[in-house]
């Protein structure tokens, strides 16, 4: 009995080692990089601590502020989609009929597809002589420079990200809607509440905690948005669709300005960390029950 009461540390060792070496330590290196002068010539050794110089430098560039603004715009668009559109679609897919199940399965499949695949096909669809432009020119509206126009690129990216994220939001909202107790709905029906009245006065208030968490996840999704943008526009044209992670990546891997990249990454991560607090709380509460 005494032996069984010992803490099972050895069982955590393999996972712990992998995560310490290849997840936690790199984060530490990222912070060190953001406070040092790492350029194209001294990636491996010879880093000098230079305090907050990288931060004053990055914060004084136009690129950073524009990138931050693009990320905010993208976040706003994704919030509309993952809360508003998802709420509407979920209520339309609520009844467990075959057509709902088909649409949900289709969307789940698309959502699980690797980003590289869905990103590639959208790049193809958005091509200057791609399918969408060929349809638009049939009604004399096109062609539109979906991905190669500096004004439009970020919104095309936003559309694809919304498209890719919508299935998840719908599944979450729908699951929460199914959890609303039927007695309340019956009572509302007896009181003569119609469809919209029920949505607004019964379902929406009941779903508020779920929507709150979904909103947090959406902000994190926007700040993580990298793979789709990499495939669709590589952050361009210029830096017109570079959200913060994209700007960080290309500062490091194309400009070889490792410190700048790391600094932008740290700044973006601060936003993710602040936004994550309510999400972490709710997950912990669930885990503790």
């Amino acid at each position: 009995m005494r032996r069984a009461a010992r803490a099972p540390w050895p069982y955590l060792l393999p996972s712990g080692l992998v995560l310490l070496a290849f997840a936690a330590y790199p984060l530490f290196v990222l912070f060190r990089m953001a406070f040092s002068d790492v350029g194209p010539t001294n990636l491996l050794r010879g880093w000098h601590f230079i305090g907050v110089e990288n931060y004053t430098k990055v914060l004084s560039t136009v690129d950073f502020w524009r990138s931050l603004w693009l990320t905010v715009e993208l976040t706003a668009a994704l919030l509309v989609s993952s809360l508003g559109i998802a709420f509407m679609c979920a209520s339309m897919l609520l009844r467990p009929v075959r057509s709902s199940r088909f649409v949900l399965a289709l969307m789940a499949f698309v959502w699980a597809m690797p980003a590289i695949v869905s990103g590639s096909v959208w790049k193809f669809l958005f091509d200057s002589d791609g399918l969408i432009n060929s349809w638009l020119s049939m009604v004399r509206l096109g062609p539109v420079d979906w991905l190669s126009s500096a004004e439009l690129a970020i919104w095309s990216v936003a559309m694809v990200l919304a498209w890719a994220g919508l299935p998840f939001s719908i599944m979450v909202v729908r699951a929460a809607m199914l959890g609303v107790s039927p007695e309340i709905l019956e009572a509302a029906a007896i009181d003569g509440a119609g469809f919209w009245r029920t949505q607004r006065s019964i379902i929406f208030p009941q779903l508020r905690p779920t929507l709150w968490i979904l909103g947090v996840l959406t902000v994190i999704y926007a700040f993580k948005s990298f793979d789709f943008i990499f495939v669709l526009t590589k952050g361009g044209p210029g830096t017109s669709s570079s959200t913060l992670p994209v700007l960080a990546y290309f500062s490091a891997f194309s400009g070889f300005n490792w410190s700048n990249g790391a600094t932008i990454a740290v700044l973006a991560m601060i936003v993710v960390a602040v936004v994550s607090v309510p999400y972490m709380r709710s997950v912990q509460k669930e885990a503790a029950e």
Binding site: P14, V18, F22, L30, F109, V110, S120
Partner: protein
């Protein structure tokens, strides 16, 4: 009681969603079946003679890439299962109130790691792998991928370990079984379902991963399919039929898993919400 308006709206939403999600899927398959000349001269044609030319080119020329993808996905999945199963056993055992607090802290740390965006780990990992002589090699990539998917895998497997009734463990302890015997004899067999789910998800994830692959493997060495798909786009402006054939191959593991465990896939993936 339900108004006709609602029914019509329901139908409309379903049609719109089906079109939005079916067209891109169909477009991948349709174009992967076009010949080189067809895809060049009339890229938007719906009527054409199907051809397996693109698959021929991709399968013959890309056999090495497919094998690399397979090697990466199998090894990453294997390493993750080997290290994650004992970890969830430890995280699910109740030995003392102090241990419970340790578990809470560790789970929080895992959540934090899961929230770190990949483009932010790729920057320091590049320098870490270079310093350790692991850059440009498959083992380096596998370790990086393992660390990327491990927090998710542990979170996914943990509920399965927690659902093993403690009465079973108590009975084994009374019989005098050692902890290792309990782990091998009870925990591992009872986690079989969970391990299958983790295997499926991590395999799909590792098969489709490209950000680490294109940065940590040097150009010229055998790249996985996902990496070629990511890179070819910038190299060739045409050749969409081949790219779409590559896309189908990149989707293959998902397709297989989806046919078997669609329901569980959806509920499981929701756990890794911020994939």
């Amino acid at each position: 009681m339900k108004a006709h308006g609602t029914k019509a709206a329901e139908g409309l939403v379903k049609v719109v969603l089906s079109v939005l999600y079916l067209v891109p899927l169909a477009w991948i398959i349709i174009n992967s079946l076009k010949s080189d000349s067809d895809v060049l001269t009339q890229p938007n044609a719906m009527i054409f003679v199907p051809s397996l030319q693109a698959y021929g080119v991709v399968l013959l020329g890309g056999l090495g890439a497919i094998l690399t993808s397979l090697e990466i996905a199998v090894l990453v999945t294997g390493v993750i299962l080997v290290v994650a199963v004992p970890a969830v056993y430890a995280l699910a055992s109740h030995v003392s109130p102090r241990w419970n607090r340790v578990v809470t802290i560790l789970v929080t740390a895992l959540l934090v790691l899961q929230l770190v965006p990949q483009p932010m780990t790729v920057i320091p990992l590049y320098s870490v792998l270079a310093a350790w002589g692991l850059l440009g090699s498959i083992p380096g990539l596998i370790l990086a991928d393992t660390a990327l998917f491990l927090p998710f895998a542990i979170m996914l497997l943990r509920p399965f370990a927690r659902s093993i009734p403690s009465a079973i463990y108590e009975a084994a302890e009374i019989d005098g079984a050692s902890r290792w015997q309990v782990f091998v004899g009870i925990t591992v067999p009872m986690l079989r379902n969970g391990m299958f789910i983790v295997f499926s998800f991590v395999f799909i994830g590792a098969w489709g991963e490209f950000v680490y692959a294109i940065n940590f493997l040097t150009q010229g060495t055998a790249w996985p399919v996902s990496g070629i798909l990511a890179q070819q786009i910038s190299i060739y402006s045409v050749g969409w039929n081949r790219l779409m054939a590559l896309a189908v191959i990149t989707c293959l593991p998902l397709l297989i898993v989806f046919l078997f465990v669609q329901k569980r896939l959806v509920s499981g993936l929701s756990l890794g919400a911020v994939k």
